[in-house]
């Protein structure tokens, strides 16, 4: 095990996959010379050259479309969209092209591309640089959606995403880049579609992903002192969703809260809650609840920004209220 930062883990994944497969290449804004806004691609230009590490103009729609085209001729492009907010510029290419191609071609072609992007609030970046928009991808058949919370997962999932034959939307979190954690010294893939129980517990299940996993673990630590034993399930991959692990957990604990930073209305929490209640109603002691972002754009001011996303206290109170 090596200790490393989330962003280093991502870089290592890119590096190893580029080494392994000459068809993997990167495109994005200021990812080459400058190494990316969050330094994830630092050094890769020097190592792999300008043919495989490509700085683009500010033309998100088309360079994402280009990734689709490159994937169709057998490459494995990884495009970086600086903020998931800007992914709104590429929805046509993602929703109508990448996600649909295999289907409309009757299975003739696949689109093995990864769209790396980054979301979440917390740095005073305001309404167009702080969104959590995974629900928009989650709803589209043909896409896989990955949202790692730890360096090890970031590393192992990005490698799997690159090797996957479907288009994968890989969403990092801006507050995670500098977090540290152990990553296996040897190559280690994390399969897509497998949730991980980050903390086992008996009294209630917190279902979460990305940065909120850290908050849930903090909440669990607080609750532990009160004798409440909480299970924290980190989805890691939203689609395919690991319903098996989820169902097993809530059947064991009988209570669950889905926690995410994205706005509650129309967030994936509702879908997961509905699904668990459809499938495990009789094993539940009450409704599956949601603790999620307020239904508002994110403001610039840090104080009110903080009020927009779930806090540890809110999660603690939520669990207390249900057990």
């Amino acid at each position: 095990m090596a200790e490393m930062m989330y962003r280093e883990a991502l870089r290592r994944a890119l590096d190893e996959e580029m080494q392994r497969d000459p068809l993997v290449f990167l495109m994005g804004e200021t990812i080459a010379e400058r190494g990316g806004s969050y330094k994830v691609t630092e050094g890769l230009l020097q190592k792999y050259g300008a043919r495989r590490v490509v700085d683009t103009p500010i033309a998100e729609a088309s360079f994402t479309g280009m990734a689709v085209g490159a994937a169709l001729v057998g490459c494995r492009p990884v495009v970086e969209i600086l903020f998931v907010d800007f992914a709104m510029l590429v929805m046509d290419q993602i929703v109508n092209q990448a996600a649909k191609y295999e289907f409309i071609s009757g299975g003739q072609g696949k689109v093995p591309m990864v769209l790396r992007t980054q979301g979440g609030a917390g740095n005073g970046l305001a309404a167009q640089h702080s969104q959590s928009l995974e629900a928009l991808f989650y709803h589209i058949p043909g896409l896989k959606v990955v949202m790692p919370s730890t360096p090890a997962d970031a590393y192992g999932l990005l490698k799997s995403a690159i090797r996957d034959d479907d288009p994968v939307v890989f969403i990092e979190h801006k507050l995670l880049y500098m977090t540290r954690g152990p990553v296996p010294a040897q190559e280690a893939l994390v399969p897509l579609g497998k949730a991980e129980i980050k903390r086992p517990g008996r009294d209630a299940t917190l279902i979460t992903y990305s940065y909120m996993t850290l908050k849930c673990l903090e909440a669990a630590a607080v609750l532990e002192k009160e004798g409440i034993d909480v299970e924290v399930v980190d989805l890691r991959t939203l689609t395919p969703l690991d319903t098996q692990t989820l169902l097993a957990s809530v059947r064991r604990t009988g209570r669950a809260i889905v926690v995410h930073e994205a706005c509650k209305r129309g967030g994936v929490g509702g879908d997961i809650a509905a699904l668990l209640m459809e499938e495990a109603y009789d094993d539940l002691d009450g409704p599956v609840l949601r603790i999620a972002g307020r239904n508002t754009p994110i403001p610039y001011n840090l104080t009110i920004e903080k009020a927009c996303v779930p806090s540890v206290q809110e999660i603690v109170a939520g669990v207390r209220g249900m057990v």
């Binding site: 085209g69 169709l72 092209q97 071609s105």
Partner: protein, 324 residues
């Protein structure tokens, strides 16, 4: 159309090429007419956008390509598909929604593609294929291949931002892509003069550092030559080209659009320059022409029969294929 290349290029081209071009023009013409019949009979559904009148663009362009080269097509894509070498049976099966079609009945006219032919697909999103073509060219560069990509699209798509973006990026990266702008002068009912303040569409190339030329799109030989030059340029690593091929639809936007808004005088003028007739004059030999036409008719009837006899996609199997 000031800088349009030679109105009807009579200079000799290899006979095999001329025959191939004529075959594809004629096959497209007949295929479209047959599709319109089938549509009226309810055997084709959804949208059907005939390529009637524009056949020379696809036929000319594809004749300049090798099998390993790629094309990206549009909602008006039958001509591209046929000229890239499609099996009319698999095309017709697809367009009538049969399990035996290129896309197993899932795509239809607007989404036809063929992996085997390196036809990356028609597209229901106007302009949607342009960045995909540029990307395929980028992929070829990454793979260090020597293929070129032709992106077909029309005047309407040229006003969409992805065209400017893709042109610009193709220029920067010197991608082996040819932007084949089929200027048929209309986007549905909107004439190009109402959709831009500058109708010199080829001129948009230089604005982004990409050479742009204008050819007579009803003259397949002119299109062929321009494409050949652009393909050679691309293979030499000199990058993309924009070719504006001027042409005109022989009818409305889709099968159910009578196209009453089209200028009748203009329509007549363009019809007088029918790509089928122009190419017949170039091929010249009536025996060869007849032989081609006979083969196409037989192929077409076989395609219609094949489609008619083919099964519908199986519902249970379809549902079973849906991933979790």
């Amino acid at each position: 159309m000031a800088n349009m290349v030679a109105e009807e290029e009579k200079a000799t081209i290899p006979e095999a090429v001329a025959l191939e071009i004529y075959r594809n023009i004629y096959a497209t013409r007949r295929f479209e007419l047959r599709c319109i019949e089938l549509y009226r009979q309810g055997r084709i559904r959804g949208y059907l956008h005939p390529y009637l009148g524009e056949e020379a663009v696809a036929a000319g362009a594809c004749a300049a390509l090798r099998p390993q080269d790629y094309i990206v097509s549009t909602h008006r894509g039958h001509g591209h598909c046929i000229s890239k070498g499609a099996d009319l049976r698999l095309m017709m099966a697809e367009i009538t929604g049969k399990a035996t079609g290129y896309c197993r009945g899932r795509g239809g006219s607007m989404h036809i593609s063929s992996k085997q032919l390196n036809h990356l697909g028609a597209n229901g999103i106007v302009g949607g294929g342009i960045p995909i073509a540029a990307g395929a060219a980028m992929g070829i560069k990454v793979r260090q291949g020597d293929q070129v990509v032709v992106a077909f699209f029309s005047d309407g798509a040229s006003n969409n931002g992805v065209f400017a973006e893709s042109l610009n990026m193709a220029g920067i990266y010197r991608l082996p892509v040819i932007f084949m702008l089929e200027n048929n002068h209309y986007a549905v009912s909107t004439p190009i003069e109402c959709a831009t303040g500058c109708c010199d569409l080829a001129g948009r190339g230089p604005a982004y550092g990409v050479p742009g030329i204008c050819v007579d799109g009803n003259d397949a030989v002119a299109v062929y030559r321009a494409t050949l030059r652009a393909a050679e340029r691309a293979r030499r690593g000199e990058g993309p080209s924009l070719i504006e091929a001027n042409t005109f639809r022989h009818g409305g936007h889709h099968v159910n659009d009578p196209g009453l808004y089209m200028d009748p005088k203009l329509l007549q003028e363009w019809k007088a320059r029918d790509p089928v007739a122009i190419m017949q004059r170039i091929v010249a030999d009536p025996v060869k022409i007849q032989a081609i036409e006979g083969r196409v008719e037989a192929e077409l009837e076989a395609a219609v029969d094949f489609a008619a006899e083919s099964p519908e996609p199986d519902v249970a199997a379809f549902l079973a294929e849906i991933p979790d």
